[in-house]
């Protein structure tokens, strides 16, 4: 071991996340406070949804697909519906396309509000966390009122949407987003002037324009590095073909830039929702789609709150798909995180990870424990036993607890 290596310390973080309640490992190599290397381990809960889709009918798959993600469920179901509609040659009524856009933008609002609160919590700014989550609750109430559920609203179906959009829903949404719009102005002012927030986020988690392109970053991560890549603009779909969308970018390329981009995107979402409600055409909200889907393959993509969301569907002429592949935006942003962490400081690791708004599911898998030259790989049961034994040594016997 060289003298340089002796000064390095390896810190395994995770699989419990340092900032969010989802699992991944971050093996951070430190030289003092400086991060010199970072290795990310993901895949702790591969749920096999794509395999499950192959043995279920398309309409059953729609409900599986909606559950790929709890936050951007509508983005996934929209991409999947678009694929089936293209394969069958069905034209979705424009009224349904407008409703899809309104729900998609409400989803973007609650996703970005959740992120903003979480990010502020990461840097100890819990006042902002409380404000943004208060606002998010109002959006979730709207979703519950319209779709029947706070998340997984079940709005989409093949050929359109499942619920009519009445006057009360429209006026409730307008009232809420008017209030939110005022709050967003305040949040933007805070983001631009609050010195603690600015100094805590500026220059942290840098990912340059070139690196963002190289590592395939998408969504606010790419936009904050000056990459004007937004599927609503690059390949307008549904009602986005008619509704003007302003492309938001920033050139700071750091966590601060990602914060500004998300706040500006929320303000843009408010405008899109207002436009969509004002210009929503009348007519049907759905058309019938056959149970058996003609053979073919299709690739659709939508702009989820976190970025590009790709769905591939291959049909074989039956009522079950031959292959379904979902690529969520976080998959694209992981490579960039590894790069962002390098050269940063240990204290900035949580906010840097949180800044891509990572989304991955729960359930543990294995952990590698480094102990000198010996490396022990522990599976879930061993890890659980290790945890029980560790607490016993501390005088706490959790097995004796009756829950």
């Amino acid at each position: 071991m060289s003298e340089t290596d002796k000064n390095k310390v390896v810190i395994p973080i995770g699989p419990q996340h340092p900032s969010l309640d989802e699992p991944a490992t971050f093996t951070i190599t430190l030289e003092g406070e400086k991060v010199v290397n970072a290795v990310i381990g993901v895949g702790y809960n591969h749920r096999g949804l794509e395999k499950a889709c192959e043995s279920r009918t398309y309409i059953q798959d729609l409900y599986i697909i909606e559950r790929v993600c709890g936050i951007c469920s509508h983005a996934h179901s929209t991409a999947f519906c678009m694929a089936i509609e293209e394969l069958t040659g069905v034209k979705v009524p424009m009224r349904a396309e407008y409703i899809r856009v309104i729900v998609a933008e409400l989803e973007r609002l609650h996703s970005h509000l959740l992120w903003l609160g979480t990010a502020c919590h990461e840097i100890g700014y819990d006042t902002m966390f409380m404000y943004t989550w208060r606002d998010r609750e109002k959006i979730l109430d709207l979703m519950a009122s319209y779709g029947g559920n706070r998340i997984n609203y079940g709005v989409n179906t093949f050929g359109g949407v499942r619920r009519e959009f009445d006057e009360t829903t429209s006026s409730d949404i307008i009232k809420t987003i008017d209030e939110l719009d005022e709050h967003l102005k305040r949040y933007m002012e805070i983001a631009l002037t609050e010195t603690t927030l600015v100094s805590r986020l500026k220059g942290v988690g840098m990912l340059s324009h070139e690196d963002a392109l190289n590592f395939g970053a998408v969504g606010p991560v790419a936009k904050a590095a000056g990459i004007g890549y937004d599927i609503r603009v690059a390949e307008p779909y549904g009602a986005y073909k008619e509704i003007p969308v302003k492309l938001i970018t920033d050139d700071r390329a750091d966590v601060y830039g990602r914060t500004v981009v998300r706040i500006l995107e929320m303000q843009e979402s408010v405008k899109i929702i207002r436009y969509a409600i004002k210009n929503m055409p009348g007519g049907d909200i759905a058309v019938k789609v056959p149970r058996r889907i003609p053979a073919g393959e299709i690739l659709t993509r939508v702009e989820a709150p976190r970025g590009e969301n790709i769905h591939f569907v291959r049909s074989n002429g039956t009522d079950m798909p031959d292959r379904v592949r979902v690529k969520a935006p976080t998959e694209a942003n992981w490579h960039g995180v590894q790069h962002m962490l390098k050269s940063g400081r240990l204290a900035d690791v949580p906010i840097t990870i949180a800044a891509i708004d990572p989304c991955y599911s729960c359930t543990d898998r294995a952990i590698v424990v480094n102990s000198g030259d010996n490396i022990n790989v522990m599976d879930w049961k061993q890890l659980r036993q290790y945890s029980i034994d560790w607490y016993k040594k501390e005088g706490i016997d959790i097995t004796a607890l009756k829950l």
């Binding site: 290795v39 895949g43 794509e50 395999k51 390949e235 291959r314 490579h335």
Partner: protein
């Protein structure tokens, strides 16, 4: 001539073997038919180096019966998705990694290894993805012949009927 058709023409001029094996599916979608490993590697290097397809979106594995298919999705500044379809026999599913051209492809190529049993040469060292460490070796769940009902989750062994019958005898 649309931009999509221009891309197809440029590729056909450069690679005569692509004639009748590349088509515009619709606006912003160009697909190729099945390409051998050698053909694919020539085309992907060319579109990356010479045609400005700098962004890699994904690689999708497919089960094609006796073969495995790999759909590489790349695009450039005009946001047209070019989908190159590489194929390899299941008996020898060896392909080369394209991570030197597209660093962001690594995670997706690891997935081909775990879920389809592809042998991706040139992948950098690192943790496998996405199956657990105690996953039974030689089991590739996204292949059509693999059935989840024969996976014993307690012992993490895969026990299809013919193996059980053989044991009884």
């Amino acid at each position: 001539m649309s931009r999509e058709e221009e891309i197809v023409k440029e590729l056909c001029d450069r690679f005569p073997f692509l004639q009748d094996r590349i088509y515009v599916q619709k606006e912003k979608r160009i697909f190729t038919k099945e390409l051998s490993k050698e053909e694919f590697e020539q085309v992907i290097a060319f579109v990356h180096d010479e045609m400005g397809f700098y962004r890699s979106h994904h690689v999708i594995g497919t089960d094609e019966g006796d073969n495995l298919g790999f759909l590489y999705i790349v695009s450039g500044s005009d946001n047209i998705l070019l989908i190159l379809r590489e194929i390899a026999p299941k008996s020898n599913p060896v392909i080369n990694s394209i991570c030197k051209l597209y660093p962001s492809i690594v995670l997706h190529e690891r997935e081909l290894v775990d879920l389809f049993g592809a042998v991706v040469e040139g992948l950098p060292e690192g943790p496998s993805y996405p199956l657990p460490d105690n996953w039974p070796k030689g089991n590739y769940p996204m292949r059509k012949e693999w059935n989840p009902k024969y996976l014993n989750k307690d012992t993490m062994t895969y026990e299809p009927p013919q193996e059980k019958e053989a044991e009884n005898e």
